[in-house]
């Protein structure tokens, strides 16, 4: 388990991290969300000692992480980069060995991963001769080739087409199922809701929400209400102040209500207005939750 405790980091007058605390458990797929500049990349860089936190601790299996611990982690930085003129098999083997694998084990792992990434026949190709999408696959391969126990990926879905995103999701799910702790940042919230079990939402250097997505949604104090009353427009909502942020389109009314709202009273008012064609009372989606949390 990765435990991040009270991480702070300033760059001059800019506060990048302000007491960030969260955990990544083995076998869990964690979406790390936050607006630009919230501290996602800084946190990830701190895990790999690419940035030094001003205070706070990062522990793996209960012990502070050091260079040797980090060899069991895999990292895909936000700004992609590999050796352009190095053959891709040599490249993956090099990174595997830098993570502590013997030359032979690194060679075997490289062959296996090139196969699963669909590039088994390109082993001798230089990276720069590959298409952009295939270079992305090798970048993922470089993070995975040594079978890490923790996978940290900074925006792994950015720049991927829908097919590439599907492959990426499948690989991340498969790794988590194999017991690997996976944490990745993303701005594609629908995708995160689809792929992840847990999320951590960071805002201005602090963790604003963290936990299983379903629990966070259920814990919200607001619900999204949708009611469509045939031929009524939005006339029936008059005099119902508990409906907030009301949007109407034709007969469809969308509104935010408190979680403990008197639902039967609202239903009664709607039924009085005419025939109910649609009714839904839902916790906010991840995307809506995110907006509620980070909007000032």
């Amino acid at each position: 388990m990765l435990e991040i405790q009270d991480l702070t980091k300033r760059y001059g007058a800019v506060v990048a991290l302000d007491g960030a605390t969260f955990t990544v458990r083995p076998g869990r797929l964690v979406g790390f969300l936050g607006p630009n500049g919230a501290g996602k990349t800084t946190t990830m860089r701190c895990i790999f000692h690419l940035a030094e936190p001003d205070s706070g601790t990062i522990a793996w299996k209960g012990a502070p992480i050091d260079r040797v611990t980090r060899l069991r982690f895999g990292y895909m930085p936000e700004q992609r980069g590999l050796y352009p003129r190095m053959k891709i098999a040599d490249q993956l083997s090099y990174f595997a060995q830098q993570h502590g694998l013997s030359a032979r084990a690194a060679g075997a792992a490289t062959t296996r991963w090139l196969g699963s990434l669909g590039l088994g026949d390109r082993a001798g190709a230089k990276l720069e001769t590959l298409s952009h999408g295939n270079q992305q696959r090798i970048q993922l391969g470089a993070a995975l080739v040594h079978d890490p126990e923790l996978l940290v990926l900074d925006e792994p879905f950015s720049g991927l087409d829908p097919l590439g995103a599907e492959t990426m999701s499948a690989i991340l799910r498969e790794r988590a199922a194999a017991g690997v702790g996976v944490v990745f940042s993303s701005h594609q919230l629908d995708l995160v809701e689809d792929v992840c079990e847990d999320v951590v939402i960071i805002n201005r250097g602090r963790i604003a929400a963290a936990g299983p997505i379903d629990e966070l949604r259920a814990a919200s104090t607001r619900r999204h209400l949708e009611i469509e009353v045939a031929g009524n427009g939005n006339a029936w909502i008059a005099g119902r102040p508990e409906l907030q942020n009301v949007q109407t389109r034709g007969d469809l009314v969308r509104a935010l209500v408190p979680v403990d709202v008197d639902l039967s009273a609202i239903l009664a008012a709607a039924r009085a207005g005419g025939e109910i064609r649609r009714f839904s009372f839902q916790p906010p989606t991840l995307s809506e939750l995110f907006m509620e949390i980070v909007r000032p």
């Binding site: 790999f48 982690f73 700004q79």
Partner: protein, 376 residues
């Protein structure tokens, strides 16, 4: 995994990737070709010229016969009459004559006089022309040091080789550092390797290539020289070659570290040479000093002082050693100073490198990189 293995993996990657790159193989071929030509070519073009002074009454037609025979053995010979042996000796010392042939009026044995080393083809021509005596007596005005010319040539070639090697491989380190920074691969590498270890590994790997190339150049140069009979190896040769390799290692470690650190400050390849210019200038100044000042006066005060200045000593010391103009204690002290300088450079430079290598955006200043390293 130990840090040592991480460093070795970095070095091995450099060694393999650079070693089989077209750039390295081409530069190797080119230098080998240039060295062979440099040693071999003078014997092909440029016929040797010589002036022979004759003292005393020459037999009729001797001059013509000498010139014809000389011509046949590839020597352009000019024969002049000299009034007295004293005059001839004076001209020999001035270098206006290559040799003098004294034909005593009393008919006694002629004598062949040269300043120092006998010009063997000329001696052969004269000897074979004058059958009067079975052995033409030869006399030297200055006791000959048969290795003087070769030592001078070695000293000269050594400085050139050192400068080229240190600079070529130092520049490789510079471009390698900038490449890793601009391609952003450095962030992946540094997630497992300490930044100082990455720098050490790169210096080591490229340095091994440099030693291979320098050894090859020296071996081929000496081999071609001896093989074609251009020169014979003086007894000091192993010593001179050892000095060359030792000071390549020290000079390369010094300059490549400096270049690598400055390279980390650049944000684009085009800025690299700009960022490196202070070090390039220093290296060039050291090179010119060695060729212009130290070569002419290897015992002089400027050369002695330069011996102990780390940026200059890698070129001055092998030169002075090749000319036999250095004391062992001077070499020992200079090595110690050089090692200290490399260590200091590495401590300071390693920190600047750590601070700068992960930064993107505009080119960094030294001071900012130093500060960043503290709170990275």
């Amino acid at each position: 995994m130990s840090r040592r293995r991480a460093i070795w993996l970095v070095a091995r990657r450099e060694l393999i990737e650079r070693g089989r790159s077209r750039a390295f193989l081409l530069s190797l071929l080119l230098t080998v070709a240039l060295i062979s030509l440099g040693v071999f070519l003078p014997s092909l073009i440029g016929r040797d010229r010589a002036t022979l002074g004759i003292v005393g009454p020459p037999p009729a037609g001797l001059a013509q016969v000498l010139e014809a025979r000389a011509d046949a053995s590839g020597l352009s010979l000019v024969v002049v009459d000299v009034p007295s042996i004293e005059e001839a000796e004076a001209r020999l010392r001035d270098g206006k004559l290559d040799a003098a042939l004294e034909l005593p009026a009393d008919g006694s044995a002629p004598e062949f006089v040269v300043k120092t080393t006998s010009n063997s083809p000329l001696y052969g021509v004269v000897q074979s022309t004058i059958f009067a005596t079975p052995q033409l007596a030869a006399r030297e005005l200055v006791p000959a040091d048969p290795n003087q010319g070769v030592a001078f040539a070695f000293a000269n070639a050594g400085v050139v080789l050192l400068f080229i090697s240190i600079f070529t491989f130092g520049t490789w380190l510079l471009t390698g550092v900038v490449e890793e920074k601009t391609s952003r691969v450095v962030e992946v590498v540094l997630s497992t390797v300490e930044s100082r270890d990455l720098l050490i590994g790169k210096v080591l790997g490229i340095g091994i290539l440099g030693i291979v190339q320098l050894t090859l150049m020296v071996a081929i140069g000496l081999g071609v020289g001896v093989g074609t009979g251009r020169f014979s190896l003086p007894p000091s040769t192993p010593n001179a070659v050892a000095m060359l390799l030792l000071w390549f290692v020290l000079g390369y470690a010094f300059y490549s570290t400096a270049l690598g650190v400055l390279g980390a400050l650049a944000s684009r390849m085009e800025e690299a040479s700009n960022a490196a210019s202070p070090v390039s200038l220093l290296a060039t100044a050291a090179y010119l000093f060695s060729l212009v000042v130290a070569l002419q006066d290897p015992d002089g005060t400027p050369a002695r002082i330069a011996t102990f200045l780390p940026p200059v000593s890698p070129m001055v010391i092998p030169l002075r050693a090749a000319l036999g103009a250095i004391e062992p204690w001077e070499i020992a002290l200079a090595v110690a100073l050089m090692l200290a300088a490399i260590w200091i450079l590495f401590v300071i430079g390693g920190r600047v490198y750590s601070g700068a290598i992960l930064q993107t955006g505009a080119r960094m200043r030294l001071r900012d990189a130093w500060r960043l390293a503290r709170g990275r």
